[in-house]
């Protein structure tokens, strides 16, 4: 598992009071972990701070609402971690 996922899982466990061992790369933040939109803002704030990025939540939401991608792309934690890695790489470039 990537260190990004480990960081994200730790943030979710602490922010949302979810046992760490229930959080896996296959977990869907909403469907499996029951994180609601307000709690997800806390998670997003902590992720943005931890990685020095600004996750484009509005763009992602629009893509999901327009049917361009499934929620899995951004809410399954392994995928979310990969997207965070891309944002970090883009920032460093």
């Amino acid at each position: 598992m990537s260190s990004t996922f480990e960081t994200v899982a730790g943030i979710i466990a602490e922010t949302c009071d979810i046992p760490r061992d229930k959080i896996t790369p296959e977990s869907h933040a909403i469907n499996d972990l029951g994180i609601d939109s307000l709690d997800f803002l806390d998670v997003a704030f902590a992720i943005d701070k931890a990685f020095g990025i600004k996750m484009p939540l509005e763009q992602w939401t629009q893509e999901v609402n327009e049917g361009k991608v499934s929620t899995d792309e951004y809410f399954v934690l392994g995928n979310l971690s990969a997207n965070i890695d891309k944002l970090v790489a883009a920032k460093a470039a």
Binding site: L41, D48, M55, E58, T61
Partner: protein, 156 residues
């Protein structure tokens, strides 16, 4: 402060766009129906209105930084501390600092002081969304001018 209208900030004293900070002045009215109930014979500014005052101070900062293109709505209050009573006629100074400009949300740390002593502080999260209608945007711009938000921060 116009407590009955939830207009808590009287005057923006300074907004620093680079430092992403704001300072404002608020005068608690000598009389208000709020004080008739809270509390009879012992009037105090309700704690929720102190938190609202911090939220509105930070809200003006977010509005100004976004040049009034989007509206911040309060969604979360963290670590709120009400450190002292606030009474009718008291003059307050408020401050807020943007902690994070997220995608569709913003987080500020804000506080209220009086006579150099901190009386309340909190971390405030807003959802930041397009204005739901032009009426609200027009009213917010008018109120911004009344509280002396610098004109150059109203547009752009």
């Amino acid at each position: 402060m116009r407590l009955e209208y939830f207009q808590m900030v009287d005057r923006i004293a300074a907004i620093d766009s680079a430092a992403r900070t704001v300072r404002a002045d608020c005068a608690v009215p000598e009389a208000s129906p709020v004080f008739e109930g809270h509390f009879p014979g012992h009037p105090l500014l309700p704690g929720v209105l102190m938190i609202e005052t911090i939220a509105q101070t930070g809200g003006w900062l977010v509005l100004a930084l976004l040049r009034f293109r989007r509206m911040p709505f309060l969604v979360q209050v963290k670590e709120a501390k009400l450190r002292a009573f606030v009474v009718p006629g008291q003059r307050l100074q408020t401050e807020a600092r943007l902690l994070h400009d997220g995608s569709g949300y913003a987080v500020v740390a804000g506080s209220i002081s009086s006579a150099g002593r901190k009386v309340a502080d909190a971390e405030i999260t807003y959802r930041v969304v397009p204005f739901p209608n032009e009426t609200l945007r027009t009213e917010m711009m008018a109120t911004a001018r009344r509280v002396a938000v610098p004109e150059e921060l109203l547009h752009g």
